[in-house]
């Protein structure tokens, strides 16, 4: 009886107040889309970090014949120098940080560069212009600096490069994007709370007659307030579902179809990740509505 009564009241309230309810739906929709986008961006960052840090190497570029670097003034790296460097990596103080070392000859380096170059600029070069490279895989990528310090000063080494630096720029960008999305989400959520508050208030005012009678005949406070709380919650949850739908479409068509097709070397987030975020979005929607109810109802339907 009570459940049917409450649901009936909720339905009546939403119908009578349909424009307000719709605005609550739309505002929560937009705000939760931002929240979801921020969360998905962070998941993407984490996914990339996990995937790339495992593959990332420290590259120790060895001196080519005609290097412009000061430390290569004595000419190209010699076989003895290469052996010394290798010894430091495999037997020296940093040996325990090093997982594997590959040696790339200057011909291989040249082939790789030309293969990954679309512009054709590098094909003007010659293998002899380049130096060989030690690709070092670290057991702990965070320890890059230690390995770099141990090898950078050695004779025959032109430059030590941490590939993480390249990715870190991308991560910085993605993190900034997350902050922007989260900031917008916060503003929109504030708007959502205020709007839900107004909706509940209007709804309570328009049903003052009913609530007065309910109070009079001894209806419990929770039963008096429940329809209003649920009204806000229903509208906000509808917004959350729209946001989930929007994110799903984004993941499906923007990421899985378009991005994956155009930039293939990245492991993207997908629709599965949207489902991971979805329950949180619903929880946030319900939370927003609850918060709004809390600030409003005490004043408008006192027992």
């Amino acid at each position: 009886m009570r459940l049917r009564f409450i649901l009936g009241e909720v339905w009546n309230g939403l119908r009578r107040n349909s424009t307000m309810a719709l605005s609550v739906v739309l505002v929560t929709f937009v705000s939760l889309t931002f929240v979801g986008a921020a969360a998905l961006t962070q998941m993407q960052v984490q996914q990339l970090r996990d995937a790339w840090y495992g593959k990332v190497e420290v590259s120790i570029f060895l001196c080519p014949e005609n290097s412009l670097f000061e430390q290569c003034a004595s000419g190209g790296v010699t076989a003895a120098q290469e052996a010394d460097i290798l010894a430091v990596l495999e037997e020296g103080s940093v040996a325990n940080l090093v997982d594997e070392v590959y040696y790339e000859t200057r011909e291989e380096v040249y082939e790789n560069i030309v293969a990954s170059d679309d512009t054709g600029v590098y094909s003007q070069l010659d293998a002899a212009d380049l130096g060989p490279v030690f690709r070092v895989k670290l057991s702990d990528p965070e320890q890059f600096q230690v390995v770099a310090d141990a090898t950078a000063g050695l004779t025959g080494v032109e430059e030590v490069q941490d590939q993480r630096e390249v990715f870190d720029q991308l991560f910085t960008f993605l993190n900034a994007a997350t902050f922007v999305a989260a900031g917008l989400a916060a503003v929109m959520m504030l708007a959502a709370v205020l709007l839900i508050t107004t909706t509940i208030r209007l709804s309570a005012l328009s049903r003052r007659r009913e609530t007065t009678i309910m109070r009079m005949v001894g209806s419990s406070k929770s039963l008096i307030q429940m329809p209003f709380v649920l009204e806000g919650a229903v509208a906000a949850t509808a917004g959350a579902f729209l946001a989930i739908g929007g994110l799903w479409l984004g993941a499906r068509y923007l990421v899985e179809d378009w991005l994956t097709g155009s930039i293939v070397w990245v492991d993207y987030i997908g629709r599965d990740d949207v489902w991971t975020v979805a329950p949180w979005l619903i929880a946030i929607a319900v939370g927003l509505a609850a918060l709004a109810s809390l600030v409003t109802l005490g004043r408008y339907t006192r027992a």
Binding site: E210, G218, S219, S220, K221
Partner: protein, 230 residues
């Protein structure tokens, strides 16, 4: 059933008290008129009993409860023991007669079976059988007040509070309402009625409690409206 012990109520500090040191006891099954001019403290008296207000000083007991100590979440239980009828009927305009009365039971969680049994019985008692499907605006004032009485009494509360129930009705209709209240009183229900209607008070010859400027000035069995006018 209802007891006020040295009750005073001051709304704003420094202002004249709405009730000043009032002590009254109303027994189970009593029929009591509460009379006095506007501002005499009648409304405050009723609000204290309904626990819409708390006394500034003194103790209020209703239906075995000490209202000073009643926590706010218990207030609904108190109100289920008090039916209330008002001058302006307070019916829901978009609900039928039946729905208006059933509403009072729905919102305190009664089962559908109880509602289907009690509401027709109550409409029969107040003389509205056959008008279940009417909307309030299709009824006369007297009939609307009967709906309000039915709604107040459908849960069979031991106490019925009436605030000027005949204030909007013509004398003939008022007599009908008073007969109804009298009949309800005979079932053992305590009836407390605030009124300005001297004819009714004089006709009924029930106990009269008179307030004046917040003071209890008269408590008389089988009394009339105003001593001075008699």
């Amino acid at each position: 059933m209802i007891r006020l012990d040295n009750v005073s109520k001051v709304y704003t500090r420094g202002a004249r008290p709405a009730l000043d040191n009032v002590s009254v006891e109303i027994e189970r099954g009593d029929f009591v008129f509460l009379v006095g001019s506007s501002g005499s403290g009648k409304s405050t008296f009723l609000k204290l009993i309904l626990r819409e207000e708390r006394p500034t000083v003194g103790d209020v007991y209703v239906a075995g409860r000490h209202l000073n100590r009643l926590s706010s979440w218990r207030v609904p239980h108190l109100r289920r023991e008090i039916g209330a009828v008002f001058q302006d009927f307070r019916l829901l305009p978009n609900k039928t007669v039946y729905q208006n009365v059933a509403f009072a039971l729905q919102v305190i969680g009664k089962s559908r079976r109880e509602i289907e049994q009690n509401v027709p019985e109550m409409l029969e008692l107040v003389g509205l059988a056959g008008k279940e499907r009417r909307l309030p605006h299709e009824l006369s004032g007297g009939e609307q007040q009967r709906v309000a009485v039915a709604r107040a009494f459908v849960n069979r509360p031991p106490i019925l509070l009436c605030d000027e129930p005949t204030g909007n009705l013509d004398p003939g209709t008022s007599v009908g309402i008073m007969r109804l209240l009298d009949r309800i009183n005979r079932t053992g229900t305590t009836v407390l009625m605030a009124t300005h209607d001297d004819e009714i008070v004089d006709q009924m010859r029930k106990r009269v409690i008179e307030l004046k400027g917040g003071h209890l000035v008269r408590d008389q069995d089988r009394g009339v409206y105003g001593l001075e006018t008699v």
